[in-house]
């Protein structure tokens, strides 16, 4: 687990933080330590008593929870939160989460989220981040997958001032599956970093990373995606794609895809694109009478639509779609 306490910032691995200057971001804001408090819907029956700053949820064996459990965290000006979330999903259980991050002012949220998914269990985790443009948010999610389990995450980042959203997925059981997708919507001088590492430790695992970024103004996006296939993880199927849309000449996107493969019978692919809106579809739409603004809007909605389509839960998809459309306006 990452340890991002204020006094440990100096010791951060430089290569891993090359594109995201957390030190500079934290220097801009002044914060005092405060207790991390979550608002929750649907979680009460599954809470495990725990210490301050820790939210602990346990979903018992074979329990099927249909309605998403909602966890909301509101940041306040001048505060610093060091929160921890522990989610244990026992064998055969199935659960969905919506994590909402909001707030007002200059604050720092540093969250460690660990999710363990037992044999044959299934977790969907949807993250909607609509933070204050002056805040710093660092969130480190670690997911441990046992045999035959499934994990799906979609993170919509309508971003903070400085955001680092990190996923570490450990496929530590045979035939487990992780499907990660996300959309970062950046404007102004926002900085949005998505860093993913999928460790395929056991054989027959499947993983997919599908992340997109839209950058306006002078915003800066970072995507670092790694697929690490261990020696024993034969028949691994790993996929990674990053598509990024630059809507301004001043915006910048840094991408670092990585494959590190020690097994010899695997299928892994990665790809990335970064560019402006294509001229050809733009001209096609305009030649049909659609004004430039509207044509851009259609093409941008189509761009984000590919990520939203990855959300099977209709309630969440509708909610995210509304938030994204609002951002695009």
């Amino acid at each position: 687990m990452q340890n991002l306490l204020p006094d440990k910032i100096e010791t951060l691995d430089r290569e891993h933080w090359k594109y995201s200057n957390i030190k500079a971001a934290l220097k801009k804001i002044e914060t005092i330590e405060a207790t991390a408090v979550w608002e929750m819907t649907g979680a009460f029956d599954y809470l495990v008593p725990s210490g301050e700053n820790i939210l602990h949820i346990n979903v018992p064996k074979n329990k099927q929870i249909d309605l998403p459990i909602e966890l909301t965290f509101k940041g306040q000006d001048g505060k610093r939160y060091m929160g921890q979330v522990i989610i244990e999903v026992e064998q055969g259980a199935s659960v969905k989460f919506i994590e909402r991050q909001t707030g007002a002012g200059a604050y720092w949220k540093n969250l460690n989220v660990s999710i363990s998914v037992s044999k044959n269990a299934s977790v969907e985790f949807y993250r909607l981040c609509e933070e204050d443009p002056f805040c710093v948010v660092t969130e480190f999610m670690t997911i441990d997958l046992e045999r035959d389990s499934r994990f799906r995450a979609c993170a919509i980042n309508g971003c903070s001032g400085f955001g680092r959203n990190e996923f570490t997925v450990n496929i530590d059981g045979e035939n487990a599956e992780a499907d990660l997708s996300g959309l970062a919507l950046l404007r102004g001088k926002q900085h949005g970093d998505t860093t993913v590492c999928v460790n395929h430790i056991k054989p027959h695992g499947r993983s997919s990373q599908f992340f997109k970024t839209i950058l306006k103004d002078q915003s800066r996006g970072v995507y670092q995606g790694k697929i690490h296939v261990f020696k024993d993880a034969q028949k691994t199927d790993g996929y990674q794609l990053s598509n990024n849309l630059l809507l301004s000449q001043q915006a910048e996107m840094d991408i670092k895809p990585e494959l590190e493969i020690y097994a010899d019978d695997v299928k892994c692919s990665h790809g990335s694109t970064t560019g402006e809106l294509d001229e050809t579809p733009m001209f096609y739409l305009r030649s049909r009478g659609i004004p430039e603004d509207k044509a851009r809007q259609l093409l941008i909605e189509a761009f984000v639509g590919e990520v939203l389509e990855k959300i099977p839960c209709e309630k969440v998809r509708t909610m995210f779609d509304e938030r994204v459309k609002l951002w695009l306006k």
Binding site: E279, T280, P281, F283, Y284, L285, R286, S287, R288, G289, I290, P291, E292, K294, A295, L298, L299, E301, A302, F303, G305, E306
Partner: protein, 246 residues
């Protein structure tokens, strides 16, 4: 009535159109034939306002409206329609939504109200039936996964929905087998009307067996070098362009 006078245009500093004159009265179908590199596609892009095609002189008016000063979408609202040689695939933009947005954009530009959802569906249903376009095709993204024939039929469907005054068919026959060609040509013929004119751009005479033109022009070296009746197309097919271009 389309009136083009002494039109010159270039791409990347290279002159492609060299003083082209052309008049197409309402209700008429004119064909433009010509060898590769004659400027046929350039003419269609210049008229529809594509970026990168720079007009250096001359004029082009549709019913007195100066097309060259308008944005591509404004030209569409003025009644111009280009059926693309290679219709563009647009993943994520659904056909019905695209057609409705296009129709309403044009209506809005003309100062008309947006079409009621139900009226739109009725209109679409009727045009769809004429062209044999399946419902399933309209549920897909624009041109994505369409066969060559479906793409060209889709161009004609858009033409039927938007009811332009002047249509350019840019090598509509390319990539079509004879059956698909007939379906597309039938669709176009159904749209022939007193207040609508067509410019059919093609390499081959074959298309003109199905869409019979009133006038045939030969384009070479960026201007019209010969004009005649439908028989000119047959003559070209037999003799080739060499004689005319020389």
């Amino acid at each position: 009535m389309l009136k083009i006078k002494n039109l010159t245009a270039e791409i990347d500093g290279k002159q492609i159109l060299n003083g082209l004159d052309l008049e197409i009265p309402s209700g008429e179908v004119h064909a433009i034939m010509g060898p590769n590199g004659a400027g046929k596609s350039t003419l269609s892009y210049v008229l529809s306002g594509r970026d990168g095609y720079e007009v250096t002189g001359g004029s082009a008016e549709l019913d007195g409206v100066d097309l060259l000063s308008l944005d591509p979408n404004e030209r569409a609202a003025a009644g111009l329609f280009l059926a693309f040689q290679y219709p563009v695939e647009i993943p994520g933009v659904q056909m019905t939504n695209f057609l409705k947005t296009a129709l309403n954009s044009i209506r809005k530009a003309k100062g008309q109200d947006e079409i009621e959802a139900l009226d739109f569906l009725k209109l679409l249903k009727a045009k769809q039936k004429d062209l044999g376009v399946a419902d399933e095709m309209l549920k897909r993204a624009v041109n994505v996964g369409f066969s060559g024939g479906e793409k060209k039929r889709n161009e004609v469907l858009q033409m039927a929905m938007l009811e332009p005054k002047f249509c350019i068919l840019d090598e509509t026959d390319s990539g079509l087998d004879i059956d698909a060609l007939k379906v597309v040509a039938d669709g176009v013929n159904r749209l022939r009307a007193k207040d609508r004119s067509f410019l059919v751009i093609t390499h081959y005479q074959r298309l003109l067996d199905y869409i019979v033109p009133d006038v045939v022009h030969v384009l070479a070296g960026g201007k019209i070098v010969k004009t005649g009746g439908p028989e000119l197309a047959k003559e070209l097919e037999a003799k080739g362009y060499a004689e005319l271009v020389a």
